[in-house]
């Protein structure tokens, strides 16, 4: 039998070992980051890689400062982020809404089943030209691209999770005389929150794809435009700058979704 003090000191040791491990993880993460950029810069300067194609961190950074100073970066960035957020929200909400309608009417879901399969199999970016012709070469088509790319997969995944909710929860609600709307609100939707959150995570990535492709096609403003423009004038500093910025902002959006996850799912 150990005394309380001994147990406390063992617990402290355990906590210290956890902290130590965490420090090592952070250390190596930082090491990889620094090594990558150092090697990139060094190889580019020594011309082991073609500096014209692969640029270098220093050149990208200088371009970044230049573009921040003249304000063009902010305007391109804000447009793309706005379009992505909008596409992401519309795609997720419409997808979830469609899933709710399918849950509501099992007949409708049976009727629409083959069409959902076809629409899901279809590569959505191929619809880009049609969208631009139909909606005009403007922000609307780009947002539509960002949304359309995630709608069907959201519908399918969320609808499956709606159907997999344990029917006994519905039985409990039914004995209390719950209506179908109440069942949806009290059991179906909250039970599916974990699935909805994980589709949100997938949709973050998908919306960026849709919006960037949309900007390639419309070629007017935004980070996608910066990439395609940099490619056309062979300014790969610009291409890489856009890519790095996209990586940073896609990560931020992903982190926001994780924050939402912690807020929404309190019980685990």
């Amino acid at each position: 039998m150990k005394s309380t003090r001994e147990i406390n000191s063992l617990h402290d040791q355990y906590k210290a070992s956890l902290r130590k491990e965490k420090r090592w993880v952070h250390f190596f993460q930082l090491l990889i980051f620094i090594t990558f950029f150092t090697l990139w810069e060094a190889f580019s300067r020594m011309e082991w890689i073609d500096p014209l194609i692969f640029s270098s961190p220093y050149k990208v950074w200088s371009l970044f400062l230049e573009k921040v100073m003249d304000g063009t970066l902010l305007s391109h960035l804000s447009i793309t982020v706005f379009e992505t957020l909008l596409g992401f929200l519309i795609g997720t909400l419409l997808g979830t809404g469609l899933a709710a309608i399918l849950w509501w009417s099992s007949l409708l879901s049976k009727i629409l089943d083959p069409y959902l399969v076809i629409l899901n199999a279809m590569p959505k970016v191929a619809l880009g030209p049609i969208l631009i012709v139909a909606l005009g070469p403007n922000m609307t088509s780009i947002v539509a691209m960002g949304a359309i790319i995630s709608i069907i997969i959201t519908t399918i995944v969320v609808y499956t999770s709606f159907r997999e909710v344990d029917p006994n929860y519905l039985k409990v609600l039914q004995t209390f005389g719950a209506s179908r709307l109440q069942m949806f609100k009290e059991a179906i939707l909250p039970a599916s929150f974990p699935t909805i959150i994980s589709t949100l995570k997938v949709n973050v990535g998908l919306s960026w794809v849709g919006v960037i492709v949309g900007e390639f096609l419309v070629s007017e403003k935004g980070l996608g435009y910066m990439i395609i423009y940099g490619f056309q004038v062979f300014n790969f500093n610009l291409v890489l700058l856009s890519l790095l910025i996209i990586a940073v902002f896609a990560t931020i959006m992903y982190q926001l979704v994780e924050l939402l996850e912690r807020k929404l799912i309190k019980n685990n």
Binding site: Y169, V172, Q174, A178, N267
Partner: protein, 260 residues
Amino acid sequence: MGFLTINNIHHTFFTEKTSTTALENISLDIEEGEFISFLGPSGCGKTTLLSIIAGLFYPTSGNILLENKPIHGDTGFSIGYMLQQDYLFPWKTIEENIMLGLKLLQKDDAVSRTQALKLLGDVGLSGVEKQFPRQLSGGMRQRAALARTLAVDPKILLLDEPFSALDYQTKLKLEDLVSDTLKAFGKTAVLVTHDIGESIAMSDRVYLFTAKPGRIHKTFTIPAELRSLSPFEARNHPLYPELFQTIWKELESLEIHPGN
């Protein structure tokens, strides 16, 4: 006329390939405040009958009257239904779970809230209102489920093997708690079980079901000596093993001559 009258219930399940008759010719009367058990092997349709009483679906034919009014299509009263597992909603606190029925029936005012929280105390669960179900043990969760069921003040309680997922000691304790609580509130209850001992210890009357199709084979009235005791004490009464043997033999004879 009884409090709950079950009139000539037949029920058949249809699938594309088969039609299975689950219940045949079920008629019985239950008086107010009685505790009834449906005992039988699995597949004898006892849970189906309970679901029909709960109004979850319509029987193929026959009807059920509660206080002389048909229960199907009447949403004016609530039924208490306890399942094998607690089915507390994991994303709701215990308090929100207890209040669920009242909320759905739009009766979640301050008075009923106080009453519901008092119920939580009655089942020995004060102080866990703000906790989530996963923080509670299996027995505590099933007690919370009992409080949730009683919170809407149901006219009749339907218990679908509510003790079967618990360990033996917890099960015995919970049997006593449910029995005491139901007696204290004067509730009518129907228990579905395949546990002979449980049906003897808890009920006033036991209906023995045969399987395929489900029919009432025999009715056992539990002697008054056992009825007045708590389930745990009843299990230790000299009459208990005698009755257990009788029902045991009856069940065995059913296995040898099925459908009799």
